[in-house]
Each structure stands twice: as structure tokens, then as C-alpha cells.
Point group: C2
Chain length 344, copies 2
């Protein structure tokens, strides 16, 4: 056993973002503080609320608090709100990363506001014109990175090729692969399949040096098939796909429940299978894996699901710390820089 | 009991389209011929193959055969192949509908080729610039029509508004609703959410007379939530979503299987639940519901899944016959005509 302690990773947590904020966020922060020896959690939000919610609870003394008086609602225009509210908790959390007082930040608030705060405060990585969300889906044949899962709805050929380079560097570190297979999300495997954007992107990706482009993949290849390690798409399509997958599993679970109905024998069988069910549901639910990492900004930002439970918030803190430790942001930055210079 | 027999609906079936064609298609045709008293099935393909595959089997005498010597592969450019091959089975099937020798046709071959054959042979409905696939998803709170599920990958604001009108007329008949709720597939419920196309389409749909527009819906609203009866999108996004939903359910099922593992007690419970599982899987799998109906052409065309089993082919024949009987194509045509004149 080594006696050297690992460096503490400091994670700033937006206390005011999320459907059940601030209560659930503070619950998650306390869990993370108790669970992870190598992480320091910094709550960012109104100090009096933080003090009230953690008072007398186990782990309370492990949490630091940085005050932030404002918050941003789901209905606000993200960029305008982030610009206007200098003291918004998500913006203060991003600023802690920018000034080196935290190593990464997490928010379960509006995705748009988190992306806007990261772009405005941390800045964009050179060589990547849009920020993108990377979600790791634990497919049967091995994990698949979906990029962009919803940060930037509009993308052209330039953005899709940049995402291929960024996704390759991201998966190399995150999944430990020497040459991650990059697939272009389309509607048919053949080169000519897809909309106008995908047909042009296919051509560009085929000619792009330094990545292992395997061609078109389909919506089902994010969860299975073993055809690609990274699935590249615009943030609109990626987000529709992710929400659709979550919804389909929820629907199948509900259909199973109603098929079981009130039959006591089937109920008993379902009770026996419940832990296996939970394991299977966890495998499909990105929330359980701690949220999505924002790729393309100068720092570590994790977007947690708006409906995050305390458990998910805790998992998101872990994802942020692991992302810092892995050096993946630096690796993506280096890849974008190499790619930009090789493309002239 | 009435002694009057319902009119026989004649359904032409592309014998050469589908991953397991022609065998599975003939199997499905025989099942449909035996199962449905009110339907006449017409096999379209090489006569010698049809004769060999049905020889001596129950129901063989109920099947008519119309010869077609060519077929279209998955890798061929759909429109070019359909134009070049006048004797392609899918084109001959469409021609039977056009000339009144069949009431509708079904193909499990290349979606693009089926769409091309329908457009070229039957013609486009005035007022709808693109053909679209309508899939009915049996969501928990009631069925939802997804339109376009993959016929036309590129759409502008004009096409999305036309699809809203067509989808409203389609759902009125198919789901029996007086004023179907029309949702625009986007990434967030608020009006400003989405890519550039969706923001402009939202404005146009808000001003469109004669439809019950309920605003943006998300990827998960196709399977649950009860927010819309029709979900309108471009064929690229719709197809990615549909394939993603199928993949997610398959992944959850596989994850459950591996969680159950080799434990005999859990195995026994799983065996007890197997029929409920199958019922739940059927609820999510569009293939089980007999394929998608092509909206926007002058006639009934049903696109069956490429990997259709005989059971699915049989279900597709039922969908085609029901679509003919419902008069939904005529209703969509009338709605498009009204809409075109009201928009000047």
C-alpha cells in the first residue's frame, strides 16, 4: 500500500441548477464529500441556503461554500442570462475553474446556461468552432461516445469534422483506445445515405488525416452493433436521439409492468428480478453515469441531467474529478491544434 | 350477424424486397392469405420462384402471382435503379396500384426504392413537396404518429408545415381524433429551443390555420408523456430517432439478460416473465405493428422493415388493407388541397 496521497481534485458544484435544486444538489455534495477521499467539493450558491441545508449533517464540514447570489431559470435565454447575471451560480462556478480555484465544475441546471457560462468564462478551444457534449453510452459490445449530445444544435461540415478529431482524442483517453473508430450518424450505412449535410460530411471525413473513420452508422449503433467507438453528429440530432433512447426504455419498462399486471406469480418473479432490472436500467440511463462532459472549452465542465437525483449529482462530481485527472481536455486541445496546423 | 361480405382488398406484395426475401415474404403472404378473409394477396416477382416456394403449402391457391423479373439491391441508388428497371418487383407492385389492379402495395426492400417507386409510379399528392413515412408508436398514454420516420432526409420550413397538415389529417382518421395535437420535434419545450430550422418552423406552425399545434416536444415524447398525438420532423431526424429507440430497447433487454446470468432462481423468474417480456418488446417494436405508411403519394404504399419476419410481413399486409379501407390517403389529399387554397 502506498502512503502517498493523490492530489485533491477541487470540483465546484452549481447549487442552484437542477429541477430539485438546491436540496438535491446539497444532498449529492454531502454524499460525494463522504464517498471520495480524493475530491474536495465546493458548493456555489447563496451562503445562507448552503448553511441551512448542510447544518448538522454528516460531511458538512468537508464542504466549502463560495457565495453566488443569482440563479438562471430554464425559460431564460441562456447566453443573455449568463451575460446579464455576473453572480449567477453557474457563472461563479465556471469562474472558479478559470481562476484556478477549482479544477472543474458541475451543473444540473439549463444545459444552455452551462454551455454559455463555460464558453464565456473559460473560453473556446482553438480549432473547435462549437462546444459539444460527450456522453458515454455503455453499449453491449463496449462503451460508445456520442458527440454532440446537445450543446450546439446547428452544425456544418466544418463542425462535424472538428468533432471527429475531438471525439477521437476524447475516446483515446476516456476509453483507452489507440485508434478509436469514428462513425458518422446517418440513416443507412452506405456512403450515399443521409441528408445533404451528412453526404458532404462523409466526403470530408473520408479525406481527413489522423482519424480512423469507419463510415456511416445508424441510430441503433450508439447502443449496440460494435461498429464505432465514437458517433459524431450535430447537437440537435444527438439530443433527440439521447432523449428518444431514454424514453424507449421507460416505455418498455412500463409496458412490462402492465403486462405483469396483478398476477401474484408474475409479481413474485418480477420482485426476484428487480435488482437485475435496476442494473439493466442503469446501463441505459446516461444520468446514472454522471452526466455529459463539455468538449471544446478550456477547462472541465460537466452537464448533469436536470432531473438528477442526489446519487446522480454525486456521480457527476466523480465524472468531473476523473475528467480532470485524465487530462482529456489537454489531449483534445493538442489534437485540435495539430489538426488545425495539418489542415493549413 | 350480417351476411354481406366486405369488399376484398387487393394487396400487392414485393416478393423480392427484404433481407430474407423471397422465402420470408412468401411465408408471410401465405399466413396473410389464410388469416385475412377480406384480403387478396398478390405476390409480385419471378413466377418460377413464387411457384416453387408456395408449392403444396396451405394457402398457396389463395395467392395470385404477377411476374416481375428484376429486383433492386440495398446498395443501389434508389431513384436511378427504379428508373432503370421497369420490371423491378417494387415498381411492378406500385404499377398494379396505379392501374387499379391492386388497392395498395407492401415492400420490405430498400426504403429509398419503395419511396422512389411510389413517387414515380403513383405520383406525388399536390400540396406536399416530399413523401413522408408515418409510424404509429404505441406510447403508454396512447398511440403517437411519428412523421417523417425516414422517407425524405432533407426538409425545410415549408415541408415541416405541410407534414403538420398531413399528419393532422392522418391521425384524425388513423387514431380517430377530432383535433390531433401536433408537436414539433425539438430539444427543449420552450419556443426558442432547437436548431435554426426548428425555430423558424415553430413560428410558421404557430400561425398555421386548421391545426392544433401544441409546440415543441422532445425525443422522449414519441414514447410517452402524452403531450402530442403527432410528432413532426424531417426524415433524417425521425429515422435516427426510430432506430435509436429500437436499439435502446434491445440494449436494455441484453443488459437484463446478462444481469440474470446463470442464476437458476432468476432464470426461472425470467421464464415466468417471458410472455410479459414479449408483450413489452412488441409494444416498442414498430416492426411488429406492420411497418410504416407512405404519406404524400397518390395511393397506399407500406414500407415494411428490411429484417421483417414472416409475421411482420403478414402484419404489413393487414396495415395496407386497413389503410385502404380507412380512406386516409383521400383524407390527407383533401386536407392538403384545403391547406394549399387557404394559404393562397
Amino acid at each position: 500500500m502506498s502512503t502517498s496521497e493523490p492530489r485533491q481534485i477541487r470540483v465546484a458544484l452549481d447549487m442552484m441548477g437542477g429541477d430539485d435544486a438546491p436540496d438535491t444538489i446539497v444532498d449529492g455534495a454531502l454524499s460525494a464529500a463522504l464517498a471520495y477521499d480524493d475530491v474536495s467539493v465546493v458548493l456555489v450558491g447563496p451562503k445562507e441556503i448552503a448553511d441551512r441545508l448542510r447544518a448538522g449533517r454528516p460531511g458538512a464540514e468537508l464542504l466549502a461554500v463560495v457565495p453566488a447570489s443569482e440563479s438562471i431559470g430554464m425559460a431564460e435565454d441562456p447566453m443573455a442570462a449568463v451575460r446579464a447575471k455576473r453572480s449567477a451560480s453557474v457563472r461563479v462556478a465556471a469562474r472558479l475553474v478559470h481562476t484556478g480555484k477549482a479544477d472543474g465544475f458541475v451543473s444540473a441546471g439549463s444545459t444552455g446556461a452551462t454551455v454559455a457560462a463555460a464558453l464565456l468564462t473559460l473560453g473556446r478551444l482553438p480549432g473547435l468552432s462549437r462546444a459539444a457534449l460527450a456522453v458515454v453510452v455503455p453499449a453491449a459490445e463496449g462503451p460508445v461516445v456520442l458527440l454532440d449530445a446537445g450543446a450546439s444544435p446547428d452544425a456544418g461540415v466544418d463542425v462535424l469534422t472538428q468533432l471527429a478529431v475531438a471525439g477521437s482524442a476524447y475516446a483515446a483517453i476516456r476509453l483507452g483506445l489507440a485508434a478509436p473508430r469514428i462513425g458518422l450518424l446517418s440513416i443507412g450505412e452506405e456512403p450515399g445515405k443521409g441528408d445533404r449535410l451528412r453526404k458532404r460530411a462523409y466526403e470530408a471525413l473520408s479525406r481527413l488525416p489522423g482519424i480512423n473513420f469507419v463510415g456511416n452508422v445508424e441510430g441503433g449503433d450508439v447502443t449496440g452493433g460494435g461498429r464505432a467507438d465514437v458517433v459524431v453528429t450535430d447537437g440537435f440530432t444527438g439530443n433527440v436521439l439521447l432523449k428518444g433512447m431514454e424514453g424507449a426504455v421507460a416505455m418498455a419498462t412500463a409496458a412490462l409492468g402492465s403486462a405483469i399486471g396483478a398476477d401474484p406469480d408474475l409479481q413474485h418473479a418480477a420482485d426476484l428480478l428487480a435488482p437485475a432490472f435496476e442494473q439493466a436500467a442503469a446501463a441505459i440511463d446516461p444520468e446514472q453515469h454522471g452526466g455529459a462532459v463539455l468538449v471544446g472549452v478550456k477547462g472541465v465542465a460537466v452537464v448533469a441531467h436536470g432531473s438528477s437525483s442526489a446519487l446522480s449529482v454525486c456521480a457527476s462530481v466523480r465524472v468531473a474529478a476523473d475528467t480532470v485527472r485524465s487530462g482529456v481536455v489537454e489531449a483534445v486541445a493538442a489534437a485540435m491544434s495539430r489538426s488545425a496546423s495539418s489542415l493549413g
